[in-house]
Symmetry: C2
Subunit: 242 residues, 2 copies
DNA sequence: CGTCTGCTTGAGCAAGATCAACTAGCGTGG
DNA sequence: CCACGCTAGTTGATCTTGCTCAAGCAGACG
């Protein structure tokens, strides 16, 4: 029993959960998974539905949103290729996962996944590692939300996006695209929801970074980083020292 | 093989990890655990030391701090009785866990704990459930940090503290203490670090809630909730509607 | 009883929100 | 292929919330 052929060539595999489990578990997982395309805007899990699907992204970006009845909302996580989206054993809560761009992904039902978790201990272990990692990421993001200035927030965001997109391209093609133009997966107002700023403020900080020659934009959604070192230093500048 | 006698009477047990695993795992865990007192200010895990202890709190409060070289810091989590403190398999990062008050706790070394995790699958499963729960809590806190006003932040904080302290008292004595005075586990400036406000702002919001008759304070550290419903409504008020 | 530290209160300030035009991509249909 | 129009994004002016700086107060402890 071996993994299907598309797994052999899947660039996400090495970084994803599939790459961290035994060949047997991998094959069993692959047997239940369905490769699929998901359009932008599709909800992968939400408050209302009890559907509990489980998905590994191979291309595209998913946003996880915490939204309240009064309409305020906060994007609490972005998931990139090789990340997984799903809430095994989760109690219902106010989180929604939604495709921020068109996706390619491997998906299976929550029921099937929970059975697999029981059958393959190494899968459950891999999931624990991922949950602990997500917790660390969330706690770093809490620092950003609570303590960083608008300028630092936008710089941190662009540095993060650039790194994740570059890592994905590296896994796919083996080339370093960090200096090339890349497409932003989020609109200005979605970026604002991530950073808890207003879209006007995001726009002004973009203008700022452009004026300093650190980034360049093309059209509405493309950007490139000219000076990653400077971008990173703006990501964590002491308030009055830059 | 049975759990030691102090476990039989431990009020934290039902809610803690120990209450969610088999009797055998429980006994094995208890055999390695040491009941201890930990003074306020003691660091339970941090960036520098590789000590990786593992602790279940039975009394007191632990704060988890994300701090940066420039001195800014953000409290990213509070741990109460029955919560566990430790980072199994964790990569080094910028988090520190520190006793916010004097503690009573059950503790064992990280090495012993990781061995136990391998030996008892149900323990690993319980840990996964807890990590997923902590992730939900973190994401709710992100909403607070990013979207709530100062007034809502302080009201949310007091409601949360009151609920956790009341739940603890309920487990210990079986009585509802929600209307009684309770001791705040954190100073004004620590509360400010939690909510990403300045201590002056926290102080003003306390004054606010007192003036409205929703809470009452006594001394520096004691408070009681007079009107929990009102407190909760302030926790999530739409910006201009209260 | 005094001092020390943590808390409260006040006055002015600044970062970012809000409100309001205005502009530029991008898709559509002539 | 270009004019049109829609939406996303930009830019400017003003306002608000919470920060900063500064002074005064009170509980805890020797």
């Amino acid at each position: 029993m071996t993994a299907p052929s598309h797994c052999q060539t899947c660039p996400a595999r090495a970084l994803a959960i599939c790459g961290q489990i035994s060949a047997g578990s991998q094959a069993d997982l692959a047997r239940h998974m369905l490769r699929m395309r998901i359009p932008e805007g599709r909800v992968l899990y939400g408050t209302a539905d009890r559907s509990k699907s489980f998905t590994i992204i191979t291309s595209g970006v998913v946003k996880v949103i915490n939204s309240r009845p009064d309409g305020r909302q906060q994007i609490v996580s972005l998931q990139f290729p090789s990340d997984f989206v799903g809430r095994p054993h989760a109690e219902p809560c106010s989180l929604i996962a939604e495709a921020a761009t068109d996706l390619e992904a491997c998906s299976l039902s929550g029921r099937a996944f929970e059975d697999l978790l029981v059958a393959h201990r190494d899968l459950e272990h891999a999931l624990l590692m991922r949950a602990l990692h997500d917790l660390d990421v969330a706690r770093d993001w809490m620092f950003l939300l609570g303590r960083k200035s608008a300028e630092e927030k936008v710089a941190s965001f662009l540095a993060m996006i650039s790194e994740r997109m570059t890592a994905t391209a590296m896994a796919e093609t083996g080339t370093d695209t960090s200096a090339a133009f890349m497409r932003l997966p989020l609109s200005r107002s979605e970026i604002a929801e991530c950073l808890s700023l207003r879209l006007e403020t995001v726009s002004r900080q973009f203008a700022n970074l452009k004026a300093r020659g650190i980034i360049e934009t093309a059209g509405r959604r493309s950007f490139r980083v000219h000076d990653m070192a400077a971008l990173k230093s703006f990501s964590d500048a002491t308030p009055r020292a830059a």
